[in-house]
């Protein structure tokens, strides 16, 4: 299958859009009609054909434009990509993982040719054809982590494992849900999650850490997380919050369907072979409310989840002020019928909206 890459923007005029295919494969994050934190981990060993779970690193129609947006963020603020000195080997591990995965999973788009340490990497969508020496930094235009993550959608946190903890010691973070790599770099698992409400008390992070420390090579894991974003803005960073925060106040009953986006993170976790680091890709998918409402099951469910979410979570996720307007919109898509279990759209089996 050949992907048609969109020519679109995630800022200014926000020309981002999802095709019908992209809407149907959107990783809707609610498997039931309510939401609370949980350690919702599962093995990352493929998934339904054409779903975002199918490949190790999903490449979709937004790839080329997302990489263009990342380059703009980095030009404005190079501190979005940092690696503490002991993390370079993990960067090479990550480069290898992504190059091998993408060339195997998308042979029409990416090629990797290896002759000992002499490697040649061809990235057709981005027009890259580079030869370099594996483990020799001088042969790449950037450090290994930066080089490969300028060519891979989603943020990447590279976590060192020591003292029975994980340490945020390197990362490429340009599409984040309001946290700062520059501030959090060097923190351990509990410290960088410190601002999250409720989850510490529920023991979520203790259990999640235990799970993550034991992830083995070749047995990656995944989970979904979510928040809300007004406009399809990838760079919802705290660094730029003083510029984008005001956009949250631009919602009206007329534009909310188009402007309000559900923001979903597909988080995956891979053990890296040489460094024993853990790489934590956080892939962001955006979908407007009006596009989500084309799936009747999702319309019913999103209304119920947003309506019943505890205030602490709506505050933490930054949409408590807009929640009444969201509910006024979403209630039109909830006819009270039951919904099928699981996240999938079930378009063939779920009834159309009763009006």
């Amino acid at each position: 299958m050949t992907i048609q890459f969109n020519d679109e923007t995630f800022r200014d005029d926000y020309s981002f859009y999802n095709s019908e295919r992209a809407i149907k494969r959107f990783p809707f994050p609610f498997h039931e009609d309510s939401y609370m934190y949980s350690v919702n981990m599962e093995q990352h060993r493929g998934g339904p054909k054409d779903s975002v779970y199918e490949k190790r690193f999903d490449v979709d129609e937004h790839y080329v434009s997302e990489m263009r947006d990342r380059a703009m963020v980095l030009a404005d603020d190079p501190l979005r990509c940092q690696s503490l000195p002991h993390m370079t080997l993990a960067g090479w591990d990550l480069l290898e993982l992504i190059m091998v995965s993408k060339s195997e999973d998308y042979p029409d788009l990416f090629e990797l040719h290896r002759d000992g340490n002499k490697w040649r990497w061809i990235n057709k969508p981005l027009g890259i054809d580079d030869s370099f020496v594996f483990l020799d930094e001088a042969t790449l235009p950037y450090g290994p982590m930066e080089y490969i993550t300028r060519q891979a959608q989603g943020d990447f946190c590279v976590l060192d494992q020591r003292d029975d903890n994980l340490w945020m010691d390197a990362g490429m973070v340009t599409t984040q849900a309001d946290w700062s790599l520059d501030f959090d770099i060097g923190m351990n698992f509990f410290e960088w999650h410190a601002p999250v409400p409720l989850a510490h008390e529920k023991g979520i992070f203790v259990r999640a850490l235990k799970f993550l420390l034991n992830i083995q090579q070749g047995a990656p894991a995944r989970r979904l997380n979510w928040t809300m974003t007004v406009n399809p803005l990838l760079d919802t960073s705290p660094e730029n919050y003083h510029k984008w925060g005001i956009q949250k106040t631009t919602l009206t009953p007329e534009n909310i369907g188009a402007k309000q986006h559900l923001r979903v993170e597909l988080q995956t976790f891979f053990r890296l072979p040489r460094s024993n680091a853990l790489v934590f890709p956080i892939r962001c998918y955006l979908c407007s409310f009006q596009d989500l409402m084309t799936v009747p099951k999702w319309g019913r469910r999103l209304h119920r989840v947003v309506r019943d979410l505890p205030d602490e979570l709506a505050t933490y996720k930054g949409f408590i002020d807009n929640r009444p307007m969201m509910l006024d919109y979403l209630k039109n898509f909830d006819d009270g019928l039951p919904t099928s279990a699981g996240i999938w759209p079930d378009l063939e089996t779920e009834p159309a909206l009763e009006t």
């Binding site: 509990f190 410190a194 510490h200 705290p238 919050y241």
Partner: protein
Amino acid sequence: MSKFTFPESIRSRPIYGTLEARVGPAHLLVADAHGAEAILDVATPQMMEKAHIIYIPKGEDYEDKLRALKPASFYSGPSYPAAEPRLRKALADAKMGLQVYLAGTEGLMGQAQNAAMAAGIPHTAIQTEHRGSIARRMQCVHCKGITEEVETDPFVCSHCGLNLFVRDHYSRRLAAYQGVRVDAEDPGNVPTPKGIYE
């Protein structure tokens, strides 16, 4: 001066203890202002024979009392930045087993801890005791500038001039708390500043 009891907070926020004398071949004690009281409390004649005290008085009158402890080496300086080269030299010269004691304001302890960590001492091996001012060292997440001695929430960033609210989220690497624009979603609507723990 009585010790301030910090309210319970999030996991990234530092927790300070009470200095206790530990066995070691050498002792490095760094304090500012009322932190001197913690040194006076913990000092023993045996410790002082192998002690290096670095003190920043900030107008407080403890220098003579500290000198009277007769540490092997004593320094009193006008500011942390002025004292830092000496601190880094002491850490670079340190041998295995050096005991590090930090006392005083959060800004002083955070920065000195940072210097000790850069010298290879794990932060968990460094003792700290808070004394004196509860002002915070704040990083503006927007412009990255550090504002020292912040006593109110919100406050004005001394670099970019934005009105920032004071978070409890703390970075050891920066030795600072995070400040975030308070009126981003309603420009000009800045709450009246109040004391951080009020």
